[in-house]
């Protein structure tokens, strides 16, 4: 690897010493193959001598065989595994390349591909400190340039370098260069991108990439590599308040309790006062434990273990912060969400949200608007599809410590995870807390669920019957309620069809509406359980995620899932309401079991097989099961 330092051959120890003090810069390149992006990256690798002779020989051979440069070295081939990947059907998203100079090590996030561009670029940009946006000098500022710039700004990248490439093809025209800068500046101001460095270059010829340009009089500025080498890498993260999400509690024995995590902002020293969020308790840093010896100070970017002087309760997911300037704690937010999954965002559905080291349950509102990344227009939207970006409100099931994304990528950035598929379905950036949850405090009441239940001599709970249309849910639910009523229990039956006549009259049968339908019913059931009632819910409730959401709303053991298991063929042959016939003829859309899925429960408390059990037998079994647990005991 022929690094061109004489020191390597003459004084390797001096060379190593020099290289131990290199810093690290991560950047992203934005542009398409047409802009010469692969050529540019290939150039950077080549000119920083990160290419071995065997690789170079392969490159020369490939250049002759499939190159586009008439037998000359085609640098794009160094980084393009793309054709092969496409043939293999491999998702092309983010590739990371490495090179280093005497001053710095670089990690380049390269995001090829047009179709998945938003998802890929957002992923690559999330860890980048700088962005190189390529513009073909012949074509100027294009739609994609605007899209790239918007995403760079959205992800909070502060250092933007505009690489005006292919200057050789416009004869290094200063007028053309200036024209592009003027165009770009006007657009950049619109999105609040005020600071950028423009460099005229020819990646193909290596001019102004890692070496001098052609010596035109009008450009005396630096070449790309020297700009990349000089960008500040620490930003101002270390000057901000101390924050460390706790990753892991280190307890090798009873005498040691350390808190391990990555310092995401600020600095910390023994003796510093810290606050534990969200609990708000305070303590003092005792030691920063490290091998072979403790540290006097740790800064943003370091993974550390620290101990506190007091025995405060701290666990994974908490944030340790400077006591005097702690982050806010909230459970409702406005956020920008980038959707990354084939299955669209369903407002109201419960997703897992991971931020810092904390994972909580989150539901998203309908987007306030989505953003056309090409025109920056705000558009009305009911949901978000793959690669769409929108602004939504988020409601979490418990409060988290956070900073806005503008303040901290690590405490303001989050991912959403689908609870069933476990896929990462979205990334998001917190803007601010919605004051609603802080101003509308939970009204503490003296007569509580236990008191109400005790008066009724029963324990409030939900019996949730799920199954296909025509499976027999309502018949069974009705019988169960009659029996309980006869036994002197206080009950209420929420029936899918009936609720759709009133509370949920505004909802249809799309996936999104089904989710909202269940959410409302679950909330109503929760209130009734709080009132001490035994609530029978008879809803198709086809999606596992929503039933789990309903279960999650109730206290443990207060949710009894009853799977009324009737095979589709049997339910269809009964067709009490004639709905299957309509669905088969296409007259009725989104019918569960026909053209909308039913996800059977995996572990219901009770399973009723209606092909071997009559409705009265089933009702008897459910009642008996409940009576085993229903009596309220203090």
């Amino acid at each position: 690897m022929a690094h061109q330092s004489d020191l390597i051959a003459t004084d390797i120890d001096a060379y190593l010493l020099e290289h131990q003090h290199k810093s690290l810069l991560r950047f992203i390149t934005c542009g398409s193959v047409d802009d010469g992006k692969s050529t540019l990256i290939g150039r950077l690798l080549y000119d920083s001598k990160m290419i071995f002779e065997d690789q170079l020989a392969a490159l020369e051979a490939d250049s002759k065989r499939v190159g586009t440069q008439g037998g000359e070295i085609d640098f794009a081939l160094l980084v393009d595994g793309l054709a092969a990947e496409r043939e293999q059907g491999i998702t092309i998203d983010v590739a990371y390349r490495f090179f280093s100079t005497e001053k710095r090590k670089f990690i380049v996030a390269d995001t090829p591909g047009h179709e998945q561009y938003t998802r890929n670029m957002v992923t690559g940009a999330s860890t980048a400190q700088a962005a190189v946006i390529l513009i073909d000098a012949r074509r100027g500022v294009l739609t994609q340039t605007r899209r790239h710039s918007y995403l760079v700004k959205l992800l909070g990248i502060r250092h933007v370098i505009l690489a005006i490439n292919k200057m050789d093809l416009v004869d290094w025209s200063q007028a053309r260069f200036d024209e592009i800068i003027t165009d770009y500046s006007a657009f950049a101001a619109q999105i609040g991108l005020t600071d950028f460095t423009a460099i005229p270059m020819s990646a193909l010829r290596g001019e102004n990439v890692a070496g001098p340009g052609p010596g035109v009089s009008w450009y005396q500025g630096p070449h790309l590599m020297s700009v990349l080498e000089a960008l500040p890498v620490d930003d101002d993260l270390q000057d901000k308040a101390f924050r460390m999400p706790v990753q892991w509690v280190n307890r090798p024995n009873l005498d040691f309790r350390g808190f391990a995590g990555l310092v995401v902002s600020g600095q910390v020293r023994p003796g510093d006062k810290v606050r534990v969020l969200p609990s708000g308790k305070t303590s003092t840093v005792a030691r920063i434990v490290a091998s072979p010896e403790d540290l006097d100070v740790a800064v943003a970017g370091q993974s550390i273990t620290l101990t506190l002087t007091d025995e405060v309760d701290v666990s994974r997911g908490d944030v340790l912060a400077a006591a005097q300037s702690p982050p806010e704690v909230a459970d409702q937010f406005e956020a920008t969400v980038v959707w990354m999954d084939d299955e669209p965002l369903l407002p109201g559905r419960a997703y897992l949200l991971k931020q810092g080291t904390r994972t909580v349950v989150a539901a998203l509102s309908e987007p306030k608007h989505k953003i056309n990344v090409n025109t920056l227009e705000k558009l009305a939207a009911k949901r978000l599809e793959l690669n769409e970006i929108g602004v939504c409100n988020l409601t979490l099931d418990s409060a988290i410590a956070f900073d806005s994304y503008a303040e901290s990528r690590d405490l303001g950035g989050f991912i959403l995870i689908d609870r069933l598929s476990n896929r990462t379905v979205a990334a998001g950036m917190l803007h601010f807390a919605l004051r609603r949850s802080q101003n509308v405090h939970w009204q503490a009441v003296d007569v509580d669920k236990a008191a109400r239940s005790a008066l009724k001599g029963q324990r409030g709970r939900v019996v949730w019957l799920t199954g296909l249309s025509g499976s027999g849910k309502s018949t069974i639910a009705n019988l169960v309620e009659k029996k309980l009523h006869a036994e002197g229990r206080h009950t209420y039956l929420l029936d899918g069809d009936n609720v759709r006549h009133g509370l949920n009259r505004d909802l249809g049968f799309t996936d999104a509406d089904r989710v909202e339908n269940i959410r409302r019913v679950a909330e109503v059931a929760k209130l009734m359980v709080d009132a001490g009632l035994i609530v029978l819910v008879s809803f198709i409730s086809p999606f596992r995620a929503e039933r789990d959401m309903a279960r999650g709303l109730m206290a443990q053991n207060d949710f009894v899932e009853v799977f009324v298991d009737t095979p589709l063929a049997v339910a269809e042959s009964r067709d009490v309401k004639g709905l299957y016939k309509k669905a088969r003829s296409g007259e009725l859309k989104n019918f569960t079991g026909i053209d909308s899925p039913y996800e059977a429960p995996e572990h219901p408390e009770i399973r009723i097989d209606t092909t071997s059990e009559t409705a009265p037998q089933a009702a008897e079994r459910i009642t008996a099961w409940l009576n085993g647990e229903l009596d309220y005991t203090i």
Binding site: M1, A2, H3, I8, A9, I12, D13, L16, Q20, K22, L24, F52, E53, D54, Q55, G81, A84, G89, I90, T91, I92, D93, V94, A95, Y96, R97, F98, S100, K105, T123, D234, D239, Q247, W248, N250, R251, P252, F256, G258, A260, G261, L262, Q267, R269, V289, S291, V299, Q302, S303, R316, M340, K354, Q355, R409, G413, F414, I415, N422, T424, A427
Partner: protein, 306 residues
């Protein structure tokens, strides 16, 4: 004492170290039964060192797994035992019983079958046998083109298949380690390290490595242009063939009959780094398995090879 709170510029190695430690802790916090794959090579040495730091003063809360082919260099077995003992790791050694029974070896069966049965199959067997749901591997993105796009948390189906279409985007420092029963993760904490970073770190932190990385006079024979060390009496010499004594060292370590040595006099770490920086061929060139088939890495990875 002044509290000047001046900025401290972290070096690239400090940043890489912090990232790797963060990744290891995240796995320990989220996985049920993590394990660290230990190949005894220099990348493994760095991983071990990082793990010891990450969980200090506790011992790393996971065992080491060596998927043994029985054909490693003797010096590697010595190093393996020494490191497990000194760092206090539990060491699990797995040898594919089928390969053992059939006497699979690189001489009779060729490198492809040898690697597939001992390593790829052996690894799957070991993970299933002990129920590990997350395994640390020492792969680096700079090793090969196809690695450049590999995730740090690489998701595997219950059959250990790598589905390139079903990999999760990784943003910021957030890794999604959730999985269903039977599914598992391969995690690569040193993804962003280059060969030079590894050597520099070994040098700076004084990490013990197998002596084979340093040059010494060793018995070798030439096979298809590669210098192969005659490490024990299982080596099949051609009639009349005599090992030559040459000053050689190894840039990568694997099964000794499949690993080419380079002629060298580099006997210290700075000399090794010097040689690497001045050398003109890439690291993987010494590995016989990569040349077997085109796009061989990609294929092996899909089948469950690391």
């Amino acid at each position: 004492m002044t509290d000047d709170r001046q900025g401290i510029t972290l070096t690239h190695l400090q940043r890489l170290e912090a990232e790797s430690i963060h990744i290891m802790r995240e796995v320990v916090a989220e996985a049920e039964r993590p394990v660290m794959l230990y190949s005894v090579g220099k990348d493994s040495a760095v991983m071990l060192h990082l793990a010891a730091k990450a969980f200090y003063p506790a011992k790393p809360p996971f065992p080491l797994l060596h998927v043994d082919t029985t054909w490693k260099f003797r010096a590697m077995y010595e190093m393996r035992e020494r490191m497990a003992r000194e760092l206090g790791f539990d060491l699990i050694v797995h040898k594919n019983p089928e390969a053992l029974a059939r006497g699979i070896n690189p001489f009779d069966h060729g490198s492809a079958v040898h690697t597939d049965l001992w390593k790829t199959e052996g690894l799957k067997q070991a993970l299933d046998k002990f129920g590990f749901d997350a395994a640390f591997g020492g792969a680096r993105r700079d090793e090969e083109k196809s690695r450049a796009k590999e995730r740090i948390f690489s998701f595997r189906s219950a059959q250990h298949r790598w589905d390139p279409k079903n990999q999760r985007p990784e943003l910021w420092h957030l890794y999604n380690a959730r999985k269903n029963k039977g599914e598992s993760l391969r995690v690569f904490p040193i993804s962003n390290w280059t060969e030079l970073d590894i050597w520099q770190y070994i040098h700076l932190e004084n990490i013990p490595i197998v002596p084979l990385y340093y040059s010494d006079v060793r018995p070798v024979v030439e096979r298809e242009g590669a210098l192969i060390m005659v490490d024990d009496d299982r080596f099949r010499l051609a009639p009349g063939e005599m090992p030559m004594m040459k000053s050689v060292r190894f840039r990568t370590l694997g099964c000794y009959p499949l690993t080419g040595a380079v002629e060298s006099t580099a006997a210290t770490l700075p000399e090794i780094i010097q040689e690497m920086l001045l050398t003109t061929t890439s690291e993987r060139q010494g590995r016989v398995i990569d040349h077997d088939q085109t796009a061989s890495m990609e294929k092996k990875k899909q089948e469950g090879y690391f």
